[in-house]
């Protein structure tokens, strides 16, 4: 099933993405679980394209979820291709209704978020995950196994779709930091 991702490109959505403003905490939409979506719904396909377009214009952005552009829906884009911590990468892809079905090799890492622009935090995430989801447009089922930074990005975005921020998972009272490096 994961072969579906190998040939997937944002062009297949067939619509032009619009760059949307990114919502920052404490916006309510970031704290609400997103609704499951119908991947064939033209609005969902447009949203998928918009997420890709918005990620593309955001320096250093490796993932963006629908709540971050103000839409309470379980849709997100990930692209960790250029990131130095990446091992396995599936390129640019948008997933709907994603679930983590297997998680192992937990390890800590420092995370930031475009919706929490001035803070970072240490968060323990699985270094290997299997995620099941459907593709926007075709609704084709995807089962995706990945590791390292792509696994972390997927967990971060799936959390957004569940109304959670990295702040809900930080490792301790001294695990939240003022961001020092600006991209």
């Amino acid at each position: 099933m994961s072969d579906a991702l190998a040939g997937w490109k944002p062009d297949l959505l067939g619509v032009d993405g619009r760059v949307l403003p990114v919502v920052t905490a404490p916006a309510e939409v970031l704290s609400r679980p997103g609704a499951e979506v119908d991947p064939a719904d033209p609005e969902v396909v447009q949203l998928a394209a918009d997420l890709v377009a918005t990620m593309r214009v955001s320096p250093g952005c490796v993932g963006l979820a629908a709540p971050q552009v103000g839409v309470g829906a379980q849709v997100f884009v990930v692209d960790v291709t250029e990131h130095p911590k990446t091992a396995t990468s599936h390129g640019t892809f948008v997933l709907c209704n994603a679930r983590v079905v297997e998680a192992s090799r937990w390890r800590p890492g420092r995370e930031g978020c475009m919706s929490v622009p001035d803070l970072t935090g240490d968060v323990k995430r699985a270094g290997r995950v299997v995620v099941e989801a459907v593709l926007p447009g075709t609704g084709e089922a995807v089962r995706l196994a990945t590791d390292a930074f792509e696994a972390r990005a997927l967990q971060h975005e799936i959390d957004h779709c569940a109304g959670k921020l990295f702040l809900d998972r930080v490792a301790g009272a001294h695990a939240v930091y003022q961001r020092k490096v600006y991209l």
Binding site: P26, V116, L167, V170, G172, A173
Partner: protein, 167 residues
């Protein structure tokens, strides 16, 4: 042996820790536990020392200009009670008066002892992270009460078990 609780705070600059710790060493004050950090441009130090009298330490810190220091003799720590279960509370939401008061009151009412807490204000976003020792079996009930308090405050709260990896 005298045990002293010392706080020092002042506008941040280079050399504050060196100045204070040098003054303490000069009067034989041995630093045991401490936390030191910068808060909104102020440098804040909380120290437990053993050795000299409170008066000697006050005198030693007096010449450090720009720093506000307090020194108090305290009793050494009693045997630590490790009966609780460690949990983490995360709160985030729009800044408003009384978030810390309301959340910590709920924790205290459940018999939870807060062992570490930091807050950060980042633009309009207020974040509170607390480490809490909870009486065994009380977490579920506390989670419900925290959710109610969070609703009233208009913030988000999560309560989860703090993990320790023993290697």
């Amino acid at each position: 042996m005298n045990e002293l609780a010392i706080t020092v705070i002042g506008p941040d600059r280079t050399g504050i820790i060196a100045d204070v710790s040098e003054a303490l060493a000069g009067v034989g004050a041995n630093l045991s536990d401490s936390t030191m950090t910068r808060l909104r441009g102020h440098f804040a130090m909380t120290l437990i020392c053993t050795g000299p009298s409170a008066e000697d330490v006050e005198k030693a810190l007096e010449p450090l200009s720009g720093l506000l220091a307090t020194v108090r003799a305290v009793e050494p720590e009693a045997e630590a009670d490790a009966a609780g279960e460690p949990y983490l509370v995360s709160v985030h939401g729009a800044d408003r008066l009384g978030i810390v008061a309301a959340v910590t009151r709920v924790v205290a009412a459940a018999g939870g002892n807060i062992t570490d807490l930091t807050t950060r204000l980042s633009g309009p976003l207020y974040v509170l992270i607390a480490e809490v020792d909870l009486p065994r079996g009380s977490a579920e009930d506390l989670a419900v009460r925290l959710a109610t308090a969070a609703d009233e405050l208009g913030v988000d709260v999560t309560l989860r078990r703090a993990e320790t990896d023993v290697l």
